[in-house]
């Protein structure tokens, strides 16, 4: 097998050894499945509305979705807890090595998976290789009827047709908070800012913060027993921890 060093290519970070920088804890026991996070995410990140027809083809675009599962046989079916699912910001992400254009790369500075929209050529390999199925593809240039363009978030690129997109952990908010903190000559405080989904959650089922800081709320919640990461057996090192039935 040819490795990147034999090809004399610059070393591109694919995998991390330790815990990432930013992380999330989701408590499914208090999630009511109200979809406020889904709406907040769409507003914050300029996500297109695909309309009825394309939605029917399974082309709906969401960076976060609420999954429901059922247990048992009819008529004794029981619904399990709601499960918010978004990009798990894997430390060792399956989407990254398959991109032929290096459009989805690992941010070494923020330990996040990046999607460089202007680099993306739309091969959709990354989405096919994502075990969590959380990537969304722009199948068309979806029109925003007036006055919707007025609510576009200026800090986030408006994506065009043929571009893959996914949850960024609200990287624009991360940078805004870091910039603000730098201007004031201090470090970013825990809880100073959060992602749109966590901010909108009425039950506070989603908590976001620094997982490399043992003092942060998210680290302390994560340390409780019973937390699990999805598809752990794949070795993707996700940065989202779920609590269910605890």
């Amino acid at each position: 097998m040819t490795t990147s060093s034999e090809l004399n290519m610059p070393e591109i970070a694919m995998a991390e050894k330790e815990a990432g920088k930013w992380g999330m804890v989701i408590d499914q026991d208090i999630c009511t499945g109200c979809q406020a996070c889904v709406a907040a995410c769409a507003m914050e990140n300029n996500i297109a509305f695909v309309g009825e027809e394309d939605s029917g083809y399974g082309r709906a675009m969401h960076w976060i979705r609420i999954e429901r599962f059922w247990e048992g046989e009819y008529p004794e079916v029981k619904m399990t807890n709601q499960q918010p699912m978004m990009c798990q910001q894997c430390g060792s992400a399956p989407c990254e090595p398959v991109c032929p254009a290096f459009a989805t790369v690992h941010s070494m500075a923020e330990s996040l998976n990046l999607q460089v929209y202007n680099r993306c050529v739309g091969t959709r390999y990354c989405a096919n290789n994502c075990p969590y199925q959380v990537r969304a593809f722009n199948w068309r240039d979806y029109k925003r009827p007036e006055p919707l363009p007025n609510q576009l978030n200026p800090d986030v690129t408006v994506r065009r047709v043929g571009v893959m997109e996914k949850c960024t952990f609200c990287i624009q908010r991360i940078f805004k908070a870091q910039d603000q903190a730098k201007a004031e000559g201090r470090e970013v405080m825990d809880g100073e800012f959060t992602t749109a989904c966590a901010q909108a959650c009425p039950a506070s089922a989603i908590v976001f913060g620094r997982v490399d800081d043992p003092q942060s709320l998210v680290s302390q919640l994560k340390e409780r027993s019973g937390g699990k990461t999805h598809l752990k057996e794949l070795g993707t090192l996700p940065n989202v921890t779920y609590f269910n039935g605890g």
Partner: protein, 185 residues
């Protein structure tokens, strides 16, 4: 049929016609490119940067956002009016008529930015001013220009050249300043 056309084109008159068509297309293209290189028409067409800078007005007085946030901002007419309603020249100068009209009619001056990066690039003035960079390094010497034109191509290589140089030996800074996520999201 096609042979007939070719035969006609090969005679002298045909060759001249081909030449004229070629020249027309070429000059249209050249004119199109020339138009993209022109500074756009501004609401106050002859706003003299150099005069104002020469008075010692700070850049940050008219572009205050540069030290606070991502965008430097272009001044509104109330900022101009604070000085100009006390200046005699405002009454009789034709160059200042657009400003006067805007104030009287309560319309805003809609400056057209010329220093721009594409929508998918997130530039931040504050970080650069805080790192001690001068406006001149990126915008040229504004004390010599009338209406602003962009003196250089603000492409990715230009950003990265300076970022690599600014990071120097500091590996952590280099990673941060060359990370795709720093500029594209």
């Amino acid at each position: 049929m096609i042979k007939k056309i070719f035969d006609w084109l090969k005679q002298p008159l045909g060759l001249i016609a081909v030449g004229i068509v070629f020249l027309a297309v070429f000059s249209a293209a050249a004119y199109g490119i020339y138009l993209t290189q022109q500074a756009p028409e501004q609401p106050v067409p002859e706003f003299p940067h150099q005069t104002h800078v020469a008075f010692g007005i700070q850049c940050l007085y008219c572009h205050p956002g540069a030290s606070k946030g991502p965008a430097a901002g272009l001044p509104s007419q109330s900022k101009c009016w604070a000085c100009h309603n006390q200046i005699q020249k405002t009454v009789d100068s034709a160059k200042l008529a657009p400003l006067k009209d805007a104030v009287i009619n309560g319309e805003s001056l809609e400056w057209i930015p010329v220093a721009i990066v594409p929508d998918f690039v997130q530039f931040n003035h504050r970080a650069h001013i805080a790192a001690g960079r001068n406006c001149e390094e990126c915008h040229g010497d504004m004390s010599k220009v009338t209406i602003a034109e962009n003196p250089q191509v603000m492409n990715m290589g230009w950003c990265l050249d300076c970022h690599i140089e600014a990071a120097g030996e500091d590996q952590e800074k280099l990673i941060k300043l060359s990370d795709c996520g720093t500029c594209h999201y």
